[in-house]
């Protein structure tokens, strides 16, 4: 039902979405925490900056990332001069690109969730001997659970569907950087509509199943509100 190349593309897609979402969640958590709690004026600027990856068309953003990560770019060039390879057209480059593009979807829900967590519960936890890290995992994370879920789901789903950034910096290399969305695009370009529909359907069904599981599991948790 799926050509081996399509199956590979699907696998690359899910791997990419998973890895970039995971890294993004880890990296954004401290930043979102800072944003949620700082009173510095710089907060507004950072909040606005974080949203910018959204306002550029993905292909254009991808183009600029290509300039940055490629051999002539600041990042890629530095890497090359240190004896490494530049990052364009590699899976690593793809992960970086997806992360930048999904940044707003992770930062926003996390910041919101951290803001509504409030200080009181943290104070209580501190008097019960929980260290800052401990408090984060035992109090903040559970209370901000919906925020993490939203961040993860938006970032994951968005990476599944994104194509502009990926085709630019990934270069559509089968097995390495060819993801499902590009494979669908290729089928359409090659006028193979049947394959395009089939792959789109599989992508949608897989995602739907995954989302059902995630939201189904989420139902089990306690919903916590302000002033209950």
């Amino acid at each position: 039902m799926l050509s081996p190349q399509d199956a590979t593309a699907l696998w690359v897609t899910f791997r990419l979405a998973l890895i970039s979402t995971a890294i993004l969640l880890v990296l954004c958590t401290p930043l979102a925490w800072w944003l949620a709690h700082t009173r510095s004026r710089g907060r507004v600027v950072v909040e606005a900056l974080v949203m910018l990856p959204l306002v550029l068309p993905p292909t254009v953003l991808g183009f600029y990332l290509l300039l940055l990560l490629g051999p002539r770019g600041w990042v890629g060039g530095t890497l090359e001069s240190l004896g490494f390879n530049h990052l364009a057209f590699t899976f690593t480059g793809l992960v970086i690109g997806s992360m930048i593009y999904s940044l707003p979807f992770v930062m926003q829900p996390l910041t919101n969730a951290f803001q509504t967590t409030g200080r009181r519960m943290l104070e209580v936890a501190a008097t019960l001997r929980a260290s800052p890290v401990d408090r984060f995992f035992s109090v903040v994370m559970p209370l901000a659970r919906r925020g993490f879920l939203t961040a993860a789901v938006l970032s994951f789903a968005h990476t599944l569907g994104e194509f502009g950034v990926i085709i630019m910096i990934g270069g559509n290399i089968p097995g390495e950087t060819q993801v499902a969305s590009i494979a669908i695009y290729d089928h359409v370009e090659a006028m193979d509509y049947a394959s395009a529909h089939r792959l789109a359907l599989i992508l949608v069904l897989l995602s739907f199943a995954l989302l059902l599981v995630v939201y189904g599991l989420n139902r089990r948790f306690k919903v916590v509100g302000i002033g209950q």
């Binding site: 490629g70 630019m168 270069g171 559509n172 060819q178 290729d186 370009e189 193979d192």
Partner: protein
């Protein structure tokens, strides 16, 4: 050996057939990466690991040669694109000018002339008919980002007709569904699609071998059957 080929989206389908045949004949592997010519060009400039670049125009391969990123000797025109006015429903295309001047359609689709060679041809044809300005003013011109988008917009029925590539509407048996009109070549500048071997090709000999094969009779036959012209 393995060949990595960047191919302009409109030629992807045809090159897939060619590559499959070639792999069968030689045992070499041909990996295709499709994209719009502009995107592929930008990628090559920024270090994309391709051996060959099948562009949808002549300008970008020329630019690569000029920048020293491609082998000048390898460059040639592998196909000439053929635009076609096409509708997937039954329309009287006997007098295309009258049809295009009339009210039997609401939208006409074409590729965006700003970046797609087929779009440029379509604009030239409409200008020759003296209809471009009126249609543009009335906001009846729907511009696709690529020629494939244009095809989709017509195939969905949302645009009643439009200019696409002949290669897109020809099915495997060489038949064309719906109604079509192939404009005479005098109405537009030729759509020259050039290929070039990149300077950083890892396996230049294999690449040259493939390019020679593309010029073989067997290959050109397939290209022509797909809806392109081949200039000898």
């Amino acid at each position: 050996a393995e060949l990595r080929v960047a191919v302009a989206a409109n030629f992807l389908g045809t090159l897939q057939q060619l590559a499959a045949l070639y792999e069968e004949e030689t045992g070499d592997r041909v990996t295709l990466s499709a994209g719009s010519s502009g995107a592929l060009y930008a990628q090559i400039v920024n270090g994309a690991p391709f051996d060959l670049f099948f562009s949808a125009d002549a300008a970008r391969p020329a630019a690569l040669v000029e920048e020293g990123l491609a082998d000048p000797a390898s460059r040639f025109t592998y196909a000439l694109g053929v635009p076609v006015l096409w509708s997937d429903s039954v329309m009287d295309m006997g007098d295309p000018r009258a049809l295009l001047a009339g009210d039997s359609f609401r939208f006409l689709a074409l590729a965006d002339p700003r970046n797609a060679p087929y779009g440029v041809a379509a604009q030239q044809i409409l200008t020759a008919f003296d209809l471009w300005d009126a249609l543009d003013r009335d906001r009846r011109l729907v511009r696709g980002q690529t020629i494939t988008q244009t095809y989709s917009q017509i195939a969905s029925g949302a645009a009643e007709l439009g200019f696409v590539a002949l290669a897109q509407v020809k099915d495997a048996d060489g038949r064309i569904a719906g109604s079509h009109w192939i404009p005479p070549a005098e109405l537009y500048d030729p759509i020259t699609q050039d290929v070039v071997m990149l300077a950083r090709a890892r396996n230049p000999d294999v690449a040259r071998q493939f390019l020679d094969w593309i010029r073989s009779e067997r290959a050109t036959g397939i290209i022509e059957a797909a809806g392109y012209q081949v200039s000898q």
